[in-house]
Amino acid sequence: MKKVTFTKRPAKGGAVQVHGTVVSLHNGLLLVSTGIPSLDSVLGGGVPLGSVFLLEEDVHTRFSTLLTKYFLAEGVTSGHGLYVASANANPDVLLNALPKPTSMSSTRSSQQKNDNDMKIAFMYKDLPKNQSSLSGVSRYGHYYDISCNMDKSEVEKCDLKSLHLTDEISYGEGKNDMFRYTLKHLKQCINNSRYEMKQKNSGDQQLNVLRVVLPHFASPLWCGDKPDNIHNIVRFLHCLRAVARNSMIACLVTIPTHLYHENEVAMIRQLVDTSIELEAFVGEKNPVFKQYHGLLKIHKLPRLNSLVNFVPDSFDLAFELKRTKFIIEYMHLPPDISETASRQGMDETNDKLHPRSACGGVSLNKKLDF
């Protein structure tokens, strides 16, 4: 039987071993990392292979570009193939600015130190050291330093394919030209390669994952001003899902959904498997969110091959960008403070929310006067 979306096969019959992937604990799907360990844990381990991941861009696209770079950088570190199709900027610009992994050199040195003999617990000698971060095993999910760029040599080791959709390419006639051209190009790259799931394993080609990235997809450059744009987009995403289900690819599509009408966005979300939205804080921040850079909203979680899906503990998520980490945390809003006297650390918040009274003390909302 030709399996199109991966599930865990029993250990006896030749399990599919692909580097950079992990079998999900919840439903046995093969997952790949997004490049951000905390996002992986929110999604239940990572992005399932054979699915389409939609990232709804923030208005200034700063963080969505960053997430795209993390995704590609993770592909390089895991040795996956990369495919980028872009209409706005040359994909090489994106590929030349990937962040450098931080933990790689440190894990290598720590493994060398671990050579001392363990006399009693010798069975644990070969297992990786326990990491207290959200990621877990060091081979899956890495941290990246955005201030340094990845070495070009590392990037070139990967199987890179890119497509820059400029005006020079003749797309042919008909309505959905640019979309159709891109899909045909992608399909050609996948056919008869190591990314295709074949019924008989040819033996010589080791199966690998292809990360397909479509940055700023469905931006005005893609669509032009045709009235039935949404149908072209929907058609493309539908066919992309068909391609994804039959190959070993993980797609990341970023769409500026703030440009579209709510119902069109709902339509788009139906055709992808996972959808998250980034809302960056711009301008004056609410002091409650002082350490975060934005909110992460989950619109859809993948439900493949089962009736139920993984759900994170809470949907109130906020993200923060540090130089070496992109952190996503469950946001805990402070409790509603009314009569209780000033608490440690909450004074600042109170000051900004309620103006100081004339006598210099912090004004408390005392409604009851005993």
Binding site: H238, R245, L271
Partner: protein, 260 residues
């Protein structure tokens, strides 16, 4: 198959709904788990099932239904199940401009929608699948996808009408899924209302008004339209539901174990 849902609706293996159209609609959520219920239900009753899936691959249904106790692969090999892979057909037509037959055992091409953007050909194929059989089930996943792909509302309404006539003439049942997020073009008749008009049963699934909860996943409303008999008042059955890996638990509103 979800026993509790069958009990509430009055269905059983001996009392299959036939000759009817069943509409599953949802609002901002995904009610496709009910499709798996109908697949398992009818296969266990040894009826013939035609699954026209445009939203997910066959493997998805196979693995999800295996938790419910049916093996779709085996049913397909036996001939009890005909799976029309509209997903792959759509891809092939998009890329190559025409498509060869992917899953049906006949020479006819599944070149349905995108030639003339209407669903006539799809209807013909479905009709051919159920002729000469009694008590068949046709599952179409899902109807709103066609609206997104460019089929006009008018054509969709015609399609639903044709399917209704097919059900009544061939004694089969038609189950489809409709996502209510789609806002209709006001100048044409709304496809949701049209589906509601023809459907004898409607199962509407929504999230809870108070927000997400781990114990109660949402509200399920069963609307029955009895066309025979003199009963004029048909109350809607509103239940809270909780979906687990293998079953659907239905609770009267407010009686979840988390609350009591």
């Amino acid at each position: 198959m979800f026993e509790e849902l069958n009990n509430i609706a009055g269905w059983s293996l001996k009392n299959l709904p036939t000759n009817k159209m069943i509409l599953i609609s949802d609002w901002n959520t995904d009610a496709s788990f009910l499709l798996h219920h109908f697949l398992a239900f009818y296969l266990k009753a040894n009826s013939k099932v035609v699954l026209a899936h445009a939203a997910q691959s066959f493997i998805h249904y196979n693995l999800a239904c295996s938790r419910l106790g049916v093996n779709l692969e085996r049913s397909r090999n036996n001939g009890d199940l005909i799976a029309l892979n509209l997903l792959d057909a759509s891809l092939q037509q998009y890329v190559e401009g025409s498509c060869e037959n992917l899953s049906l055992d006949s020479e006819e091409c599944l070149n349905f929608l995108f030639g003339d953007n209407s669903l006539k050909h799809l209807f013909k194929v479905l009709k051919r699948c159920v002729e000469n059989t009694k008590d068949a089930l046709i599952i179409l996943d899902d109807v709103t996808l066609f609206l997104g792909l460019g089929v006009s509302q008018k054509d969709l309404n015609y399609f639903v009408h044709y399917m209704d006539v097919l059900c009544k003439s061939n004694n089969c049942t038609f189950v489809t899924l409709f996502h209510q997020n789609f806002a209709p073009n006001i100048s044409e008749p709304s496809p949701y209302l049209c589906c509601q008009l023809y459907a004898s049963y409607e199962i509407e699934v929504k999230g809870l008004e108070s927000g997400y909860s781990k114990d109660v996943h949402g509200v399920l409303t069963l609307k029955t339209k009895e066309t025979e008999g003199i009963k004029t008042y048909q109350p809607h059955k509103v239940m809270h539901y909780r979906l687990t890996d293998r079953s659907l638990q239905l609770l009267a509103p407010g009686t979840s174990s988390a609350v009591l």
